[in-house]
Amino acid sequence: MSAGAILDLSLDPRQRDRTVDVLVVGSGCAGATAARALARAGREVLVLEEGGDFTGEKLTQRDGRMYDQLYMDRSGRMTSDLSMSVLHGRVLGGSAVINASDVVPVSDEVLRFWQKKHGLTDYGPETLEPYRQRALADLRATRISDDQVNRANRLLMEGAASVGAKGEVMLNNRVGCRGLGTCLIGCPIGAKQNPRWVAIPEAVEAGATFLCRARAVRIDDATAELKRVSVRVLDPDGYHEVDGFTVRARLVILAANAIGSTHLALRSGLGNAQVGRHLSLQPQLGVVARFNEEVIPYRGIPQAFAVTEGERFDDERGLWGYRVEAIMGTPGIISALLPRVGPDVMTAMAAYNRIAASLVLVPDEPSGTVGLTKAGRVRIDYQHKDNHKERLREGAKLAARCYLAAGAYEVEIPTNRPVFVKSERDLALIDAIPFEPCSAPLMSAHQQGGLRMAPSEADGACAPNGLLYGTRDVYCFDSALYPSSSSSHTQAPILATAQFLSERLLAKS
C-alpha cells in the first residue's frame, strides 16, 4: 500500500477529472475518522477540504487572520435573523482545530433516548461503548490537572463551591499543553490531539489523499453506481473559486459539519423532505465578570471548569437544562462581545487582565432548519424557543452568583443594553432580558441535525447506517445525523459514531 498525501489545490488549481472508490467531503472528526477506517480496509479514499492546512507558525495566535482563515464564512456565519453566530471550522482537521478541546462523550442516557424515542435500536450503550472508548483513545483524553486550572477557571470553581453548585474539571484532549491560551484560533504547538494530528496522518499512511482548498458544490447521479461530484478549487485565502474539476466516486460520505453536509445535500437536490430539518444549535450566551485582582485570563487553558448543577436529562427531550463553562478570548473577540461605543470601549477593555468569562450552554430542541438562499448559499433559520431563553437566564444567574461569591465586583450580561449585576439583589435584572433578535451575543459551536437519522423515511433524512434516503451509496457520517443533542461538546460523540458507521459500512461491503 502506498502512502497518500495532503495537497493544497490552490497551488495547482488546474486539476484533471478523476474517478475514485470513496470520496469524503470534510476532514474533521467524522471525515478523517471515516477516511482512516476505509483506507486501512484497502479502499481508495479521496478527501475534500474547503479550508487550508494550518499548523505551527501558520497559526499566528492573532484574531484577524485566524478567524478569517480557520472558521467557515470567515467566522461570519449567522442565523438568518442574525441572532446567533454559528461557528464551525473550515480547516484541515475541521472544527476540532478551533474548539476548546473539551471531551464529553455521548452518555448512556442519550443513547437510550435515541433508541426509545427515535427508534435507533442499534445505538445502544453496550454497542457504542467500544467506539466511545476508541474515541477517548484517539483523543488521548485525560482530566485537566489541577495545576492547569488557571485563575479565571478557578474563580468559577471557587464561586460554584461557595454557592453549593455542582461542577467538574473537564476531560480534554491536550498533550504537552503549554497554556498558550489561544485554543479557539488553533494550537501552534500541536498539543490538541485532534484529527489533524491523529486520524489524518494515519489515514494518509494508509493511502488516503486529502485535498485542501477544494469545495464540493454539487453531487449528481446520486442513484448511479458512479456519483459525479463537482469540485471547485479555491484561491490561497479560500475567498474565491478559481477553477474546477469533477470526481466520480462509487461511495460518497458527507462529513462537512451538520450545516455543511446538509447544505451540500440541498444544493444537490438529494434526499427527501426531511433534509434540512431538525437542526439543533445549542445556543451559548457569554457572561463577563470583573475582579479587583489580576486574573490574566488569556493564559492557560481557557475552558477547564464547568458548572454542571443545571444540567439534567429530560425523558421527552433528551439532554436538557444548562451548564456554565469558563471561557476566554483574545482582545478583539472580548471587546466585540462588549456593547460599547467610543471611549467606553477602552474603559471596559482596561479591565482585560481582571476579567473572567463564561458561556451558558443550553442543549436545545432541534428547532432549526438549513435551507438555501436564492444564490444557493446557506440559510439557517432558528426558532429561539421560550424555554431556551428561560434556561439562558437561569444559567446567567447561576454564573453571576458564582462570580459574585468568588469576589467579582461586577458581572455583565453583554446584551445591547448591558445588564450589570453587583449583588444578589440585581439578579432579578436578568429575568427581564428579552433575548430579542440580535440583542445578545449568542453563539453556536455544536450544530447537530439537518440530516436526522431515523428508521423510516417519514421521520428522517438518513437511515440509521447513515445512508441518505433516496440515494445509492451517499452517506452522512457527521453530527447532521443526530436526532437530539448528543452531548454538550460534540467532538467525542462524532469520533465515536463515525468509527461505528465506518465499520458497519465495511462489514456490509
Binding site: Q61, Y67, D73, G179, T330, S439
Partner: protein, 181 residues
C-alpha cells in the same frame, strides 16, 4: 474577521427598500444632504461616499481621539474595503445598503436634516450609540456587524495592546516582536 457575511441579504434588502422608499417620498432634495465626497484613491469596492460613511462609523465606534484618530480610522476603513474584496457579491451589496442607511440614519430615525457624516463628533457618537441600543433589530444588526469588524482589527494591533495590559500572544514574543513584519 468577517462582519459582513453577518449581513444577510434578505434583512438588508427589506431595510434598504424601506429606507430608500422613505427618502424618495421625502423628495430627491434629501439625497443632496449628503453632499459631495472627496475622491479617495486605492479603494477596491466602496465609492467615496460610502467610504466617508465608513470612516465616520469607525470614528464613532472606536476608542480613538486626537491627532492619530484620522489615520487609525483610515487604515481600518481601508482594511474593511479590502476585506470586502474577498466577500460574495450578495454580502457586499448588503454592506453597501447598510452604509447608505447609516448615512441617512439621522434623517430616517431622528427626522433631522443632516446625515451621519456631517454630524459633529459628539453628536455622531451619540447617534451611533442609538443604533446599538435601538429597539429595531436591523439597527442592532448593523451596529454589531461594524463593531465586530472594527474591534477585531483594532485590538489585533500590537500598538494597542499596552493600553489594555495585554502582552500579546505568548508563543511569538513581545508586542514589539509581534509588530515586526
Amino acid at each position: 474577521m468577517d462582519a459582513f457575511a453577518f449581513l444577510r441579504r434578505r434583512t438588508f434588502l427589506k431595510l434598504g427598500i424601506a429606507g430608500v422608499a422613505g427618502l424618495g417620498a421625502a423628495g430627491g432634495g434629501l439625497l443632496a444632504l449628503r453632499g459631495s465626497a472627496s475622491a479617495v484613491s486605492g479603494l477596491g469596492v466602496l465609492d467615496a461616499h460610502r467610504f466617508r460613511t465608513l470612516l465616520a462609523v469607525a470614528e464613532a465606534q472606536l476608542p480613538v481621539d486626537g491627532a492619530s484618530a484620522a489615520a487609525v480610522c483610515d487604515r481600518l476603513a481601508r482594511l474593511f474595503d479590502g476585506f470586502l474584496q474577498g466577500e460574495p457579491e450578495e454580502n457586499v451589496a448588503d454592506l453597501k445598503t447598510a452604509l447608505l442607511l447609516v448615512e441617512y440614519g439621522p434623517v430616517i430615525f431622528e427626522r433631522r436634516l443632516t446625515t451621519f457624516s456631517h454630524l459633529a463628533a459628539d453628536e455622531r457618537r451619540r447617534h451611533w450609540r442609538g443604533w446599538m441600543e435601538s429597539d429595531l433589530a436591523v439597527r442592532r444588526q448593523v451596529s454589531l456587524a461594524f463593531r465586530k469588524f472594527f474591534h477585531a482589527v483594532f485590538f489585533d494591533d500590537p500598538a494597542v495592546w499596552p493600553q489594555i495590559g495585554y502582552p500579546g500572544p505568548s508563543l511569538w514574543g513581545t508586542p514589539e516582536e509581534a509588530a515586526t513584519p
